[in-house]
């Protein structure tokens, strides 16, 4: 099966999910071609084990993000077969458009995949799973942190193709992040606070611990809605971000179904809540029935001991 991967980039290099895309393609027996928009991350991609070939797609359109223009450039550079990207905002946009250009279907946010192109993806925010089989070419995006990454040590050949597309979007103003803190979408450890934190000032306790652990701070919608200083970018859940970290610590969060939708696939979940009946305990691997006022200082001290 021919697989073309649209590399997911971060800054001037590859996002870690790109190795997972290659790992998933290899598990189907493919030796994928990796397309790097604007040439970003091409050298790195050539070093990923299992990559057949790297194409630097260089064109003016790659200076800012425009899904339509990028899809046109990638479409012209890619051969037929299966187009694989990451299920990020940009990846979904670009792969959906390449598929639409080619008149083939797209299946987004796939969490398992087997030869013959059997795929599973969550529906109803993870309350059920959909299984599909596609015959023929299609677009596919994969959920981050669900496929084993390919390692290093590869030495694929790299070529450059000049392709661009019509840019329809113009950036008028770039607005820097309010803080330089790690985003929940990129973090492997997340500590989230809910209404039970009592007020935004108490999130300092969560920031301190997150900084110590190299993690990010998230929030429930109730916290985001109630308090200035807890922006929507921190919100985890159905109308916030879907996260998939190794460790998710929920503090003062009841565990409403819309919150669970965004975090229930975390590898390990710890819940701190004073109410033993809180639904968050149903999904927690380790639940601690206590107030955060009591539990957080102990947690911080214990973690400081072992890090």
């Amino acid at each position: 099966m021919d697989i073309t991967i649209i590399a997911e980039t971060q800054g001037n290099g590859l996002h870690a999910v790109t190795n997972q895309l290659v790992g998933a393609a290899s598990s189907l027996g493919a030796s994928p071609t990796v397309l790097c928009g604007g040439g970003v991350g091409a050298d790195e991609a050539a070093g990923i084990a299992g990559v057949g070939k790297v194409l630097s797609v260089t064109g003016d359109c790659f200076s800012t993000f425009d899904g339509g223009a990028w899809a046109a450039a990638f479409d012209a550079a890619a051969g037929s077969g299966v187009i694989v990207g990451a299920a990020t905002a940009q990846g979904r946009d670009v792969v959906a458009r390449i598929a639409a250009r080619r008149g083939i279907p797209v299946v987004q946010d796939v969490v398992s995949m087997s030869p013959g192109l059997n795929m599973t993806h969550p529906i109803y925010s993870g309350k059920a799973m959909q299984e599909v089989t596609v015959s023929g070419d299609c677009g596919v995006t994969l959920r981050a942190n669900t496929f084993a990454p390919a390692g290093g040590g590869g030495s694929a050949e790299t070529a450059t193709v000049q392709q661009s597309g019509d840019v329809k979007i113009a950036v008028q103003e770039a607005i820097a992040k309010a803080s330089e803190r790690l985003d929940v979408a990129d973090a492997d450890i997340i500590i989230s606070g809910g209404r039970g934190m009592g007020g935004p000032e108490n999130f300092d306790k969560l920031y301190a611990l997150a900084d110590e652990m190299g993690g990010a701070v998230g929030a429930s919608r109730a916290a985001v809605d109630a308090w200035d200083g807890i922006p929507h970018t921190m919100q985890v859940g159905q109308t916030g971000k879907t996260v998939n970290p190794s460790l998710y610590i929920a503090v003062g969060i009841s565990g409403a179904i819309q919150h669970l939708a965004g975090m229930r696939t975390s590898k390990y979940i710890v819940a701190i809540n004073k109410d033993p009946e809180a639904p968050i305990f149903k999904v927690a691997d380790y639940g601690i029935v206590a107030t955060w006022e009591e539990a957080m200082p102990v947690l911080a001290a214990e973690i400081a001991k072992i890090l």
């Binding site: 899809a71 598929a99 639409a100 083939i104 596609v134 607005i175 970018t233 601690i288 214990e302 072992i306």
Partner: protein
């Protein structure tokens, strides 16, 4: 003046329990159907945009008869052009089929702007906005969280934070949550909605290469352990290190 098409999908209430019976989600067990949450943000943006710039809105849904409700709800807020696309032979449609049916309806409505949700609350795909844009030869700004009422600029996420962008018409804009929750209808609106006419159209969506094998319930996690009091924290931290190996 601006002609906007808003794509509204009917989905089970996000609080609804989703049960799988015989390898399929049991829709008959869903008691409350609503407009997909992000689509409501798209609708509110369209209402504000046409209020500021003049013009009109066409609300389009693809779904069975029960989906008339999302159109009637939009009518109660003053939307006068209502289109439902359906064919009783349809069950699972693939991305391509949904996109082509919706793109055709957008074209028929003569809209130069399409506002929709970043993803539907049932399928969670995020394919429709970009796909419809491709079929229309339009630009597409995804995951917009702020807009100005006159509709010329949109705020989208970017690696470095966010970006205020403009997009050439025709264009598709997909909305995430914005600060503008959907307004509530007034009594007059509700009365108007009762008489609103829905244009039901059939669509030819062609064949599909996707086989929808069925649904399953998500793998249940083994039940976790619950500990009483903050005195248990050291033990939990030990387990995170030794059992879970995440520290």
């Amino acid at each position: 003046m601006v002609e906007i098409a808003v794509l509204l999908k009917q989905v089970p209430d996000t609080n609804a329990k989703i049960v799988v019976v015989g390898g399929r989600v049991d829709e008959s067990a869903v008691t409350s159907w609503v407009t997909s949450p992000y689509d409501e943000y798209a609708l509110e943006a369209a209402l504000q945009h046409t209020e500021a710039a003049g013009g009109s809105i066409t609300a389009i849904t693809l779904g069975p008869a029960r989906a008339d409700k999302v159109l009637k709800d939009a009518a109660a807020l003053g939307v006068t052009k209502l289109v439902r696309i359906w064919d009783d032979s349809w069950q699972d449609l693939d991305s391509k089929q949904v996109q082509s049916a919706l793109a055709n309806a957008v074209q028929a409505a003569g809209a130069e702007l399409v506002y929709c949700g970043k993803q539907s609350a049932d399928r969670n795909q995020g394919s429709t906005g970009p796909g419809v844009a491709e079929l229309l030869g339009a630009g597409c700004v995804v995951e917009v969280s702020e807009f100005d009422a006159a509709g010329t600029t949109y705020l989208r996420p970017a690696a470095s934070g966010s970006e205020k962008v403009t997009v050439a018409a025709p264009a598709v804009v997909t909305f995430t949550k914005t600060a503008s929750d959907l307004r509530r209808p007034n009594v007059r609106g509700i009365m108007m909605a009762k008489r609103a006419q829905i244009d039901v159209v059939a669509g030819d969506v062609g064949s599909s290469t996707v086989n929808f094998n069925g649904h399953s319930s998500p793998a249940e996690k083994p039940p976790g352990k619950t500990y009483e009091g903050s005195g248990s924290v050291p033990e939990v931290v030990g387990l995170l290190r030794d059992e879970a190996k995440v520290l």
